[in-house]
Symmetry: C2
Subunit: 148 residues, 2 copies
Amino acid sequence: MTSRDTLAFGVFTEIGIIDQLASHAFTQVLPRSISIAQFGILNHFVRLGHDYRTPAQLAEDFQVSRPTMSNTLSRLERSGLVEIMANPDDGRGKRVSITDKGRTMREQCIAGLAGPVADMNAQVPPELLEKIHPLLTQLREIMDQMRN
Amino acid sequence: MTSRDTLAFGVFTEIGIIDQLASHAFTQVLPRSISIAQFGILNHFVRLGHDYRTPAQLAEDFQVSRPTMSNTLSRLERSGLVEIMANPDDGRGKRVSITDKGRTMREQCIAGLAGPVADMNAQVPPELLEKIHPLLTQLREIMDQMRN
DNA sequence: TAATTATAGTTAGCTATCTAACTAAATACA
DNA sequence: TGTATTTAGTTAGATAGCTAACTATAATTA
């Protein structure tokens, strides 16, 4: 392994650990009945203002396999947080939309996340986040292209 | 949400996606019978030259819960890649060590990883990795402290 | 038109990760 | 000494993620 290889490994190792620490911190403050993945979907509907979205589109949006999305959507539906209906335009497809209960749950999640986010803002220098964000975006975009 | 909150969320979102893309790419080139988590443990033994390590130490090394490590070590043992013995110094504990088969497997994994790592080095500007690595380390250290 | 190919989703089976609850052994302390 | 607390590991039961294989429908093409 060259020193560049070692550097690349180091970057992905740090990213893996940070992802784990952040997921853990967020999970702590979400309502017990909902996961990060599930919150992400509810938040996606609200942020982007979609009326509905197909499971395949959601899988693409979140860079996740279709069986994974299928599974997560089933759980959300079982909890009444989304509604899944046949797609009138495509006999194979479905349409997913957020319910009022889902919107309320999303609000509760946001409220819970406020604490850790405030802690984070207190502990992490803002310049660090400002410096690191565009670099991460650049790296993510390169990796996205490599995938295709 | 303030713009700082949004920035923080953005950072963790990018990190989550990069972690997923990297894991996926690495999984593709490892032997079918071994996972990233398992490779990480074999690599840990070789890199650090440990004769043995307790499951609790390994859980700490990898920032993972003890049941998780217990599970991964069982799989490695079942595959003959590590050996697990009673700890003569502590009746509660165990000692884990890598086997010759484990070392060979680790070599095969490293060989498989060479391809993606080369691609990465071809596509990602080295300055990007050099700039981002210390920032990630800083962020990880802060988050580690917040955890305690 | 009929056959082939592509796409949407699901099911089954795998690994990793977590928390909660448990056993057994070591340590601390009253 | 004897009890209480801590520590090491495991078991049980979740969720998220993956691939492979399947069904059903749509789109393409011969």
